[in-house]
Subunit: 199 residues, 2 copies
């Protein structure tokens, strides 16, 4: 599901202009999807060209003029069909975890800064989604509640794991320690085979 499809989905719930769409993405999907103006505006233009949405100019009383998009019957049908057709991916790319994998190469201060920042972000996310969750009444769509609950649960566990295990990252492995002691730096390298179970 690309930004285009997600916009269509959001428009299936409520009319909006591009700017609002971005705000809604941030509010609801913060923890698992992001979209910038650079992808939203072109996406809306393509949707309109395909007849899946229509736009009407709305004079912003006070604010700037807006272009409000409304989904068409064809758009609704298209979205529903794409939900049934696509194979939903779930992709994580974490430079944070990649970095920690090489924790041996980081000095203590840097390591602590990075971990602290990630922790803050996770706690912020956790409380933000918890807030969203609270505002959803019993009559809110099941999906919205499920997704919010999922986000809270995951953020909490991630933060807890990091807090409970971060101390392990400071126990430098004996194999690399010698470098500090002016050793020739290459002689001590013992290539561990971590290839793992599968291939």
């Amino acid at each position: 599901m690309d930004v285009k499809t997600l916009c269509l989905g959001l428009l299936s719930l409520e009319d909006a202009c591009g700017y609002e769409l971005k705000k809604r993405c941030e509010a609801r999907f913060q923890h698992f999807f992001s979209a910038g103006y650079g992808s939203i505006y072109p996406a809306l233009a393509e949707l309109a060209e395909a007849g899946l949405v229509e736009d009407r100019a709305a004079a912003g009383d006070g604010r700037a003029d807006r272009k409000v998009y409304r989904i068409t019957a064809a758009g609704r049908e298209h979205f529903r069909r794409s939900l049934h057709t696509m194979t939903p991916q779930h992709k994580l790319r974490s430079e944070f975890l990649a970095m920690l994998y090489f924790a041996d190469l980081l000095d203590t201060e840097r390591l602590n800064t990075v971990v602290d920042e990630r922790l803050q972000e996770l706690r912020r996310t956790e409380s933000h989604i918890a807030g969203v969750e609270r505002e959803l009444g019993r009559d809110a769509p099941a999906g919205a509640r499920f997704v919010a609950g999922f986000g809270v649960a995951l953020a909490r566990v991630a933060a807890d794991y990091i807090e409970e295990h971060r101390h392990l990252l400071l126990e430098r492995s004996p194999a690399r320690q010698p470098e500090k002691a002016a050793a020739p730096a290459r002689a001590a390298r013992r290539p561990l085979d971590l290839t793992g179970s599968l291939p």
Copy 2:
């Protein structure tokens, strides 16, 4: 951290050819990073051009000839520096969660299939990383153990949450139920404002 930097990192642990690098990514980083040949081979070429790695041809006894890459002193320094310079991102893009947000629009069968498949994937991932973790001895780098433990913990919680809460997705919200009863389909739409707390 792009594929280029990650390759450099892997080469800081052990010499390898492009093919091996991909296998190692899959084995160790499966749950938070992916890289195809289409990004690894060009990355290695660029690293070599920049003098951060060197390659020597290795006659594959039996197998095809390989190009084995070894990190240079400059490469080691570059990698260490980039670990200290970069701002580590953590990006999740989940079409799965996006889809569940719109669970109202899915028929029961489709919903169950999608959820079951995600669950299987999570359980596979969980046991795979747990396997990797078991093979890491006490002398393995702290980062490798931390990252594996993190992966197991998260995969477990994600799967558990889904199993415990999936039933909620089948309770269709009353606001959308009328569609089944041949209602005009648009009249009943009550646009809930889910904009959320922040902006």
